[in-house]
Amino acid sequence: MNAFALALRNLARQRRRSLLMIAVVTFGFAAFALAGGFVAQSFETLREGTIRTVGHLQAVDPRAVGRAEDVTLEFGIHDAHRARAVASQDPDVAAVLPRIEFVGLATNGSRSIPFLGVGVDPEPEAKATLAPEMLVKGKYLSGDGDDSVVLGTGLANALGVGVGGRITLLATTPDGSLNAVDGIVAGLVDVKIKELNDRYLAAGIGLVSRLVQSEDIVSKLVVFLKPRVDEAKVGERLKAALHAAGFPLAIQRWQDLAVFYGQVRLLYIGIFGFIGAVLVVIVILSAAIVMAMAVTERTREIGTLRALGTRPAGVRKMFLVEGVALALIGCAAGALLALIVRWVLNASGLTLPPPPGGTTGAPLNVKLYPLTYGVGFVAMLVTMTVAAYFPARRASRLPIVDALTHV
């Protein structure tokens, strides 16, 4: 009879206690797998959302890194069309989007509201970013040359304009003078963050260039990469290519730009880590108690095994294998439970509350991430082994004579 089969028989002998321990592992594993799936899904959603907003990489004037401009396009990229063409030549680049970032005032004739503006190339922007998906009314920008603008819902409300409404945009030019152009509201968007929603304005790069009176100058080039490429390597390559073409630009990765992503990730990791730690402690304590009781109850048996010639390591192995067997059974049941609960949750149509600073929640969607199941399995296995180790060690060190006379 092998050690595993013997462990199963011993577990079956102490059926009620073994079932209790299996239940602890099952619920611990299921909770870990579900929470892990939920957090991983949240990370992925947040990551995708962030990348589709800021791109994988951004090429900017090195002076713009970590600094705000004193005047519009102070750190702009000149000869932007050529720089964009150079960046687009990299085989791993999917799209290069020029953007002009500026601030200004939007007025409906009687009321003026400050805004944070972005000038974009509408068609590739619509393809690569979340912009069209954020649209709640009207349509997104469609052409570079027209006077269309898109407003955050909060800004539109403040201005009292809707789709088709006319507004005037005022902004400073690179030489510091003030200029104004008229725009027509094509659509309203919800950018999910209330503060930004109250200030957001997007327009075609042609309209913005007219407003700030610049010619072929952009604030940055936003670079989207093809799937599954090494961002860092492409970033290095792009930097070298741009430098070689006479554009001494800095390359920023999306992680550097998405402070919010980093903060939310840290928050989730903290929460998940805490939950995981609590689960591990519960499982360790439960398993240690169960294994200690097993050792106590089977003390005479341990004495007999030792008398027959079982080495101390053999006794340790016996209890460790029982711990591992409990972990394996509990994890298998936990995986099944997690799959069932996941199906029920996803079918329930529940909606999560908005993330910190957000305006809309997302449907609850716990995805199946094999990695979390794998990590949960390893965690439970290690936890049970650790929990079983100390009672097992105690069992292996029992004086044989004392063990044989244990009552």
């Binding site: 005479r300 007999t304 079982t310």
Partner: protein, 232 residues
């Protein structure tokens, strides 16, 4: 045989005391004894005389406070815990008053356990276990678990287990104490037969006059010391 060459197991000036609360109670005091091949020895004496303690010391289940146990000319206190375990597995068999069978194993598996410890695999182990069960009169109980066996049957399984690795000495601590007299007689006859046919030495710690009557050598202990050592 008190001491001498050719001994399987030898105890030299063994002392062992136990601590009970604040008191230190001597259990064995300066005992020297040798067990030779093929002996059938009874350790007798009143309760507390040190029979079981001496049995445990000679069987390497316990260590003396002072003195030396020598097995196959090896001094036990020079051995590691693993070496002591291996020596018990290979050279000794044990039969206990309360049978001490592993409850989750069948009779065959119980008998096969010491063989498994020695690395005897699958069919060879099964065949040997069944042969031993047949030799103790339980050819049809191989698949039965201990809780379904009578006391006498359990002790027969324990004897078969003790013989699994062809031991030189079987240590039996009150092997008949939990058996009715008829069954006790059967068990003693069985052990006597094994002693005669296989040449395995037996050392009993016992109160049972039936055991003493069958022994060829009786060692009487009193207050942890040998009072007499008689060949019969």
């Amino acid at each position: 045989m008190k001491e001498g060459a050719g001994a399987l197991v030898e105890g030299r000036d063994l002392h062992r005391a136990y601590v009970l609360g604040q008191a230190r109670v001597p259990a064995v005091r300066g005992v020297s004894i040798s067990i030779a091949p093929g002996e059938f020895v009874a350790l007798q004496g009143p309760s507390g005389s040190g029979k079981t303690t001496l049995l445990n010391l000679l069987g390497l289940l316990d260590s003396p406070d002072s003195g030396q146990v020598v097995v196959d000319a090896k001094e036990a206190d020079t051995l590691t815990e693993d070496e002591r375990s291996d020596l018990r597995r290979d050279r000794f068999g044990f039969v206990f008053q309360t049978f001490n069978l592993i409850p989750v194993l069948t009779a065959e598996e119980n008998v096969g356990y010491p063989l498994a410890l020695k690395g005897v695999e699958g069919n060879a182990r099964r065949d040997r276990a069944r042969e031993l069960l047949a030799s103790v009169g339980l050819p049809d109980k191989a698949e039965v678990r201990p809780d379904l066996l009578s006391g006498g049957q359990r002790q027969r399984v324990a004897i078969a287990r003790a013989l699994a690795n062809d031991p030189a000495v079987v240590f039996a601590d009150e092997p008949t104490a939990n058996l009715d007299s008829h069954t006790a007689d059967e068990i003693l006859e069985l052990m006597r037969g094994i002693n005669a046919s296989r040449g395995v030495s037996f050392l009993f710690a016992t109160h049972d006059p039936n055991v003493v009557r069958r022994a060829r050598r009786v060692v009487t202990l009193h207050d942890g010391m040998i009072e007499s050592d008689r060949a019969l």
